[in-house]
């Protein structure tokens, strides 16, 4: 990740506030992590920043959950070339819609505008799903959202939040909620 984009990402995701809570070794680790994550394979730097911010808006905490490297890995090593192209071809819509709405790129616009852009895309996918069922899963935004949700739910932070980790070590078939 470029330094400029890191700062944009931190500002856009309120990450700067989180930095206050970290000690020096955490900050060093974060720096190494950011550097390591910089080696994206399918996502160009700008696309990667857009994915990071969009994922954080779709599910707050996505950044901590490692959603962006997972999406990059899936695009590079899992999806078919067609699927990857569809995703990468759709992603610039974030900027196009942000510019139409707020006059600036997705990363630069206000959080409320980012949410509005994503909500509109989500509504479109929901309408598409009502009309065409699972074919809607092919939409680039449906891919982005699915990957974000899946990655968060299978991350340590997500599994803790969902009550799935750590394992209880016992079975109760009729426990209180």
């Amino acid at each position: 990740m470029e330094r400029r984009e890191l700062i944009q990402w931190l500002v856009a995701t309120a990450g700067l506030q989180a930095l206050d809570t970290l000690d020096a070794s955490d900050l060093l680790a974060l720096g190494r992590d950011v550097h390591r994550r910089g080696a994206a394979r399918a996502l160009a730097p700008h696309a990667k920043s857009n994915v990071s911010v969009a994922a954080e808006r779709i599910l707050p905490g996505a950044g901590v959950a490692g959603v962006t490297p997972f999406i990059d890995k899936m695009l590079a090593d899992w999806y078919t070339p067609d699927e990857r192209r569809r995703f990468l071809a759709g992603l610039p819509e974030l900027d196009a819609r942000a510019r139409a709405r707020a006059g600036v790129d997705f990363l630069a616009c206000a959080e409320a505008d980012q949410i509005a852009v994503l909500t509109a895309l989500d509504d479109e996918v929901t309408a598409l799903r009502a009309a065409r069922g699972n074919a809607a899963n092919q939409h680039w935004f449906a891919m982005l959202k699915y990957l974000t949700v899946y990655a968060w739910c299978t991350s340590e932070a997500g599994m803790r939040a969902l009550g799935l980790f750590p394992l209880p070590g016992r079975y109760d078939g009729c426990a209180p909620v």
Partner: protein, 556 residues
């Protein structure tokens, strides 16, 4: 005078039945060689059930491209995933063919422990409803044994492996040596009570009988309910060769276990009409050598054992080797929702479901088919997986993911398949595996009887759910499963009463070659609808004791 042999006994395969043969034969005093085609397994290194998804490259979605390239067939098994894929064979190294319009899944596991590491662990006894079935219906050949012959061996096996279950007193699904049963959840208990009120003793719902420990047993710890048993079990809490039988065999000091040993064929002495050993290809160096032994147990899995016999051109005077392949038909069933219990949830991952023993053709005759099926299934509340495509973003979406869905319950049928000699594996005329060994061409398809069973599953499952007050009942719309897909393949070297129509006698002993025993699924004369591993294990233990008696009397 006896020839000097490398070993007293050679066991081909280290899985479910090979492990049992190793344990029984070594405990009975035989110096035993166990040959395993695949690698060694070290629980501390190879069992990965506690590895969380975030440590996996694809977080549980699997390496799609690698699976497509190397495991496109094995990948269809229900317990194949990103963690456990290493416990299945490579389809490129281990090819087989089928007619283009008749797929067959041959799921194979080549490592120490074989498929006993990845099995479903459901264990049910057979009864004379099963052992007398072929005779009663005039199908295939009659079993050479009855329940009384195998019952003590079921006891013997169950006492060692540890089976948790609930005694129900059903004549056609005999109770066994049970450890305390696992618990049913609220909705399962409700459905059980409603079914009892509606169907009485005709359709019983019980907790699955499963080879997972609920209490400490013979030095193994009880289950801790982590869930994915097919990735191994570091606490040895379910039965497998690696967890139980092979260590017991090792403890005798008479076991030699040789991984990376691919058996090509049996070696035959025509003058004595005995097998003198087996020819093995080293999986790594691809060089071959012969090991000699006084008796040979084929425990390589149903189709692999048949393949070894076919490649040996032995033990097949009946022409039944490779024929009568059976599996269990699946994918009929139903699911439904239950209102209520919204203040209740399940904690922990119970590695077991519920079981509805066969109820068709037990007393009344069904007009459309003979034999029957059992249901497996269970109830639960939907979790985050149901929200993967949910609308919304932000905090609202996160809240949706953390909410539990309504309770729902499903029943999935496992149906009996009839033996037919046209369901057959033959040696492929040209195709060989990566070790140069001729592979199989498999032709296997369902008959009208299985298809009628499959249709009835969905009708009856919906009936059960309706009787229990379920809403939104959805009978399965899936067609029949692919033959082989249940991984209960069996029958390819069947037992019988007549050397002209069967491969093995009532002791799993080759009619043609008295010092050859086949005790895996190949030996099965009919398929029942119960998960078959318990019966394979009981037959193996029984055959081992018989073989050692015969050996001591000098009859082999």
């Amino acid at each position: 005078m006896r020839d000097v042999t490398d070993f007293d006994a050679i066991v081909v395969g280290s899985g479910m039945t090979g492990g049992w043969a190793a344990k029984e034969l070594t405990e009975l005093g035989l110096r035993t060689l166990v040959l395993e085609a695949g690698r060694a397994i070290t629980p501390e290194r190879d069992f990965v059930e506690h590895k969380p998804p975030w440590e996996m490259p694809f977080r549980g979605l699997g390496d799609r491209r690698a699976v497509a390239a190397r495991q496109s067939r094995q990948g269809n098994s229900v317990s194949f995933d990103e963690w456990s894929h290493v416990f299945w064979t490579d389809d490129v190294d281990n090819p087989y063919t089928t007619p283009a319009d008749r797929p067959f899944y041959w799921f194979r596991a080549r490592q120490v422990g074989g498929k006993s590491t990845i099995w479903g662990r459901q264990v049910y006894r057979w009864s004379d409803l099963d052992f007398e079935a072929n005779l009663r219906d005039d199908i295939g050949v009659d079993w050479p044994i009855r329940y009384a012959d195998i019952a003590p061996w079921y006891d013997h096996v169950e006492r060692f492996i540890g089976v948790s279950g609930q005694a129900e007193g059903l004549a056609h699904l005999p109770d066994g040596q049970f450890l305390p049963p696992m618990e049913m959840n609220c909705v399962e208990q409700h459905v059980k009570e409603r079914m009892r009120a509606h169907f009485g003793r005709d359709r019983v719902l019980t907790i699955g009988r499963v080879a997972n420990l609920t209490v400490p047993h013979l030095g193994r710890a009880p289950c801790h309910y982590c869930g994915p048993c097919h990735r191994g079990c570091i606490t040895l809490s379910y039965f497998s060769s690696v967890n139980a039988t092979l260590p017991a065999a090792q403890a005798t000091g008479r076991l030699t276990l040789r991984p990376f040993s691919v058996v090509r064929n049996l070696v035959h002495d025509p003058q004595r009409n005995r097998v003198t050993g087996v020819r093995v290809i080293d999986a790594v160096t691809k060089t071959d050598r012969v090991y000699t032994g006084r008796i040979v147990f084929l425990c390589a899995s149903a189709l692999e054992s048949a393949r070894i016999l076919l490649n040996s051109r032995l033990a097949n005077s009946s022409d039944q080797v490779g024929r009568n392949i059976m599996d269990h038909i699946k994918w009929g069933g139903a699911s439904g929702d239950f209102e209520g219990w919204t203040d209740r949830r399940v904690i922990g991952n119970r590695p077991n479901g519920i079981y509805v023993p066969r109820f068709r053709n037990v007393t009344a005759r069904h007009p459309d088919f003979i034999r029957g099926y059992a249901f497996q299934g269970g109830a639960g509340r939907g979790g985050w997986q149901d929200g993967l495509r949910a609308p919304g973003i932000g905090a609202a979406l996160k809240a949706r993911l953390t909410q539990l869905g309504p309770w729902s319950m499903n029943f999935e049928g496992f149906g009996e398949m009839l033996p037919r000699d046209t369901n057959r594996a033959t040696l492929h005329p040209t195709l060989v595996d990566t070790w140069g060994i001729p592979t199989l061409h498999i032709e296997c398809q369902w008959s009208d009887n299985e298809l009628a069973i499959h249709r009835d599953m969905s009708v009856a499952a919906a009936e059960l759910l309706e009787s229990a007050g379920a809403k939104n009942i959805e009978p399965s719309t899936r067609g029949p499963s692919t033959p082989g897909g249940t991984n209960h393949e069996m029958g390819s070297a069947r037992m019988g009463r007549d050397a002209r129509t069967s491969v093995l006698n009532g002791w799993n002993q080759s009619w043609d070659l008295p010092n050859v025993f086949v005790t895996d699924g190949a030996a099965m004369t009919s398929s029942g609808c119960q998960n078959p591993s318990l019966t394979y294990m009981a037959l193996t233990a029984r055959a081992c004791h018989y073989a050692v008696e015969q050996l001591k009397r000098g009859d082999l």
